[in-house]
Symmetry: C2
Subunit: 445 residues, 2 copies
């Protein structure tokens, strides 16, 4: 596609965003139900397109270009499509993230300031090759009143194109503005998007660490996401060791390919001799490759960990283990080597838990729970567009609320700043009050 065609798509999205910001929740939610129905109605067409992606994926697998896991993730089935439609309906049923009055303050008599939740505008998204990703991101964008640019993995291009057309056509006859969702397909179109900082308000890339870094380094548009998930579990000297064993096992083995899986296990030296032999045996039964520091290797026989191990996201059945001499050392190791994603302490001592949780600089800090809980669905956010390890705007799993911002509305009856300035300045009242913004209510009194 030409650069110009991509620019036109973004411009259309920009126009649509201004309209969509005014659409009521009823309109947005009804459109989502129509999308869910349309996905169910088009089952045969979607599966046919998906078969092409899977067939091409199998060829790439044979050629050694794709992994088995990638091809498996590509594949849709009638039951998967059903759960995708249900996911869209569940997004429709979430509370409206827009229009809420977040605060109301009377600056003076008949001068009322309201802070009201509004959509961000145009969101640019780039995501991996799971066909459900396109539907999930489009649904969250529509519910939150944002126009969205969708760029999926080329491996799922046939599925993505059909799913996009179904979503677009399902909302064409509704009060939803045309052009609210735009599909781009080529890698070079992503670069066009990166330059459009006047038109795109936020980028949410998902994918490999290298890819997200590339996006961050090549745009002036704010980026929400994460490059790495280097998460730790710290088994404190006051841990319940049986609980610790189960949690440390779950955090690595339950699904090792994801960003919230643990990469380094830290063990307090006071419990290392009791704890390490048991957990190492359990990890080995699950085929986890282990590496340890010197103190660990005095207790269990492991390959040595190098300095690089502490900064590595394995994303696989691999784990590094380190024995630490204190809570402070554990905190320091995590704040130095962690990626600010998710960190967990296992301890029965609430003071030590508190110190850990307050001291660790990460989006999610857990006490006696597996790092794998860091996820928009598990957190009850409905679904997530991504997980952010930055500290600006939204942090951790990003759901509907993370796709909103706010606007200040001031309702007056002709007030001038001159009245409140200078020697005989009228003072402000600055009283908080409970009230919803009702446009123009002062003018009507």
């Amino acid at each position: 596609m030409t650069e110009r065609a991509t620019e036109e798509k973004v411009a259309e999205a920009q126009t649509a965003a201004l309209e969509l910001a005014k659409a009521d929740d009823e309109v947005r939610s009804a459109a989502l139900h129509d999308i869910a129905d349309a996905i169910e109605d088009a089952e045969a067409r979607i599966l046919e397109a998906n078969e092409k992606d899977v067939a091409e994926g199998e060829e790439m697998l044979e050629a050694g270009e794709y992994s088995r896991a990638l091809v498996d993730r590509l594949e849709l089935s009638p039951s998967k499509l059903e759960s995708i439609a249900e996911m869209v309906r569940s997004v429709a049923e979430q509370d409206d993230p827009l229009g809420r009055t977040l605060s109301a303050r009377r600056l003076d008599e008949d001068l009322e300031l309201y802070k009201v939740g509004v959509p961000i505008g145009v969101i640019g998204t780039v995501f991996e090759s799971r066909p459900d990703a396109l539907v999930q991101i489009a649904a969250l964008s529509l519910k939150s009143g944002n126009a969205v640019i969708l760029k999926g993995g080329s491996e799922a291009s046939h599925s993505n194109r059909v799913l996009y057309e179904i979503i677009r056509d399902a909302t064409a006859d509704l009060d939803v503005p045309e052009g609210w969702a735009q599909l781009i397909e080529a890698r070079e179109d992503v670069n066009t998007m990166l330059d459009m900082d006047d038109a795109i308000d936020l980028l949410m890339p998902r994918g490999s660490s290298e890819f997200v870094s590339y996006i961050q380094d090549n745009t002036q548009i704010p980026v929400l996401g994460h490059t790495e998930g280097i998460c730790h579990v710290f088994v404190d000297r006051e841990a319940d060791l049986s609980m610790a064993e189960d949690v440390a096992f779950d955090a690595k083995v339950q699904y090792p390919a994801v960003c919230n899986a643990v990469e380094t296990l830290l063990v307090h030296e006071a419990v290392a001799e009791d704890f390490l032999p048991e957990i190492v045996e359990r990890y080995r039964e699950a085929d986890v490759t282990l590496r340890g520091d010197g103190a660990t290797r005095q207790i269990v026989d492991l390959d040595p960990a190098t300095d690089d191990d502490w900064d590595t996201e394995y994303g696989d059945l691999e784990l590094s283990i380190k024995v630490v001499d204190s809570l402070a050392t554990a905190i320091d190791h995590i704040n130095t080597h962690g990626s600010k994603h998710t960190e967990s302490i296992l301890t029965e001592d609430s003071d030590r838990a508190s110190t850990f949780m307050r001291s660790i600089d990460a989006a999610s800090v857990f006490h006696n729970a597996s790092t794998r809980f860091a996820d928009g669905y598990r957190y009850g956010l409905g679904a997530e567009v991504g997980i952010s390890t930055g500290k600006i705007h939204a942090r951790g799993p990003v759901g509907l609320e993370g796709l909103t911002t706010y606007k200040y509305y001031l309702e007056g009856d002709g007030q001038l700043v001159a009245t409140y300035s200078g020697e005989s300045a009228k003072p402000y009242r600055h009283e908080e009050f409970a009230g919803e913004w009702v446009p123009g209510h002062l003018a009507e009194e």
Copy 2:
């Protein structure tokens, strides 16, 4: 200063930020009161340093390098110092922006997720040559638990250095971590800071449009601020024309050099013949230079406005005027030419006010009030570190709340994700509840 020295300062701030995040409000507020006292006690020393800045400024004024206004803004006096100390005390007295539980959700029995307000970390600030700016920014940073890098205008360098030393020394013996505030002085040190995206969490530049653009274009650190304030007042066909005249006058003339002053006046054609002659006469009495579009010039005798005028922030007693044929045209003009800062409609019709306010994409949208109210102090935020026209994180005037983010805390008793996955998955409860995070309370039950 060498690049290395700046890097060391930022590293010190980073270490201090982790400690400061744990400091109670009592500690932070007491430190602010000590700073206020220290500023009063050091009056003679501060005024002496300030005299040097003013003397050098006068020389630059004679050489034609500085404006009279700039030199006037540099100058401190005993009463100005008193009001700076009072400002610091008022920041100390604000509600604690940290530690609040923003939401609490029970994911399952004894598995509780809390979203808690925390500081951002290290804030890099660059600001103009008013010596009170350094104190205001340092005070807001300390109250919100953030470490801060301070870079003021070189015109105020003597004043800034002394004020910085007083602030640093006043907090040296307290429980506030050493190194929480760092002063950098050379322009090239700003460039060193721009490269430190691993250490600095947020940049807040204030200054000229060119300077803020330069910062935005040369860093991967998130930037909060604004380059331009192109604000509009729209006099609707349903406006109370007497009110409109007063507001349009205030918005331009009360203080024309600031970002929330109006630059373009839009007038509905139905009231243009009644409204324009009166307001033009009033502007002329105040020496406002006026330019108008064709329709305006058929009613009043003005110089013609060019296309550039609609995109110009005059920042002075200058104004462009345009007659529009409808509310929709006014909205479209503002969304095309405005800088998303502050926009105001004057109308007695609440439906038209509502359409305007919902349709305009700006941080602040006003109804029957002067654009000059867009300001952290007037909004009741206590004070502001800047005004943001971006849509990510904080929007409009940024006070203490804009200097915070949140962390998710999960309290469990050993829960595993495996329990909630697969065919016999235990369902989540996802119940919101009213409760504050108490570290480790489940472990103690």
